[in-house]
């Protein structure tokens, strides 16, 4: 089972685990990214995720190709959610299974690291003080001119 998707509904991590699991796999690894209530010391109420969806899907597929090539992992599923997310909601989930633990662990880490670098997805954080901002993980925040 290999699958990637940009979704606009809640992510069911348990279902991703079930998708990759099989009698030949002794190791299942899962990573879930969730919306935190604070970022850089600011209190966050919610996040809007937006994507260049067709490219994000293509980029996710390329990342899965690379993970399979590097780690020999064929059971690998990733979903990234877009839209309005609340605190605690899962924004991304990656599940991998393999006969042995190292490839399962390595491939999950590879996929989340690459998503952070290159999948065209953006998030606007809504802060408790009423402001909002596009997040730039490089540290240079682009003040949104839509704040209000």
């Amino acid at each position: 089972m290999r699958r990637s998707a940009i979704v606009d509904r809640p992510i069911d991590a348990a279902s991703l685990m079930a998708e990759v699991s099989g009698a030949e796999c002794g190791a299942v690894s899962l990573f879930v990214g969730t919306v935190r209530d604070t970022n850089d010391g600011r209190s966050v109420d919610a996040i809007d995720y937006t994507a260049y969806t067709v490219m994000a899907e293509a980029e996710l597929e390329r990342i899965l190709d690379e993970a399979e090539e590097r780690f020999g992992v064929k059971s690998l599923v990733v979903e990234h959610r877009i839209g309005a997310l609340a605190i605690g909601d899962a924004s991304v989930a990656i599940a991998a299974a393999h006969a042995h633990r190292e490839p399962a662990l390595d491939s999950v880490r590879y996929v989340i690291d690459e998503i952070k670098k290159r999948v065209p997805i953006w998030k606007m954080e809504h802060y408790s003080d009423g402001t909002r901002e596009w997040v730039d993980p490089a540290g240079v925040r682009a003040e949104a001119d839509v704040s209000g």
């Binding site: 990214g33 995720y49 937006t50 994507a51 260049y52 067709v54 490219m55 994000a56 293509a58 980029e59 390329r62 990234h80 924004s91 991304v92 989340i112 998503i115 952070k116 670098k117 290159r118 999948v119 065209p120 997805i121 953006w122 998030k123 606007m124 596009w134 997040v135 730039d136 993980p137 490089a138 240079v140 682009a142 949104a144 001119d145 839509v146």
Partner: protein, 81 residues
């Protein structure tokens, strides 16, 4: 001169006030040429230095040649995950 429609997202779309930007494209223009042209457009004056361009749904280097049928987007710093 043909015009390509460049897709904008997130902070770039907010800064320009649109999710599309029409950019004149000369025959033989590369991604680098396109970026030079964008910098000269008054409508794009609010954009920060652009680091990444996608052509046909994949990142493309500055030497990549463009045609008017390409799907082109400029990509703000990504923040997925």
């Amino acid at each position: 001169m043909p015009v390509v429609t460049v897709q904008l997202f997130a902070s770039y779309a907010d800064l320009v006030g649109s999710s599309m930007l029409d950019v004149p494209l000369a025959h033989g223009d590369t991604v680098g040429d396109l970026l030079d042209t964008i910098r000269s457009l008054p409508s794009a004056s609010g954009l920060p230095p652009i680091s990444r361009v996608a052509v046909n749904r994949a990142f493309a280097g500055v030497d990549t040649p463009l045609s008017s049928t390409d799907e082109i987007a400029i990509i703000p710093p990504v923040a997925g995950g």
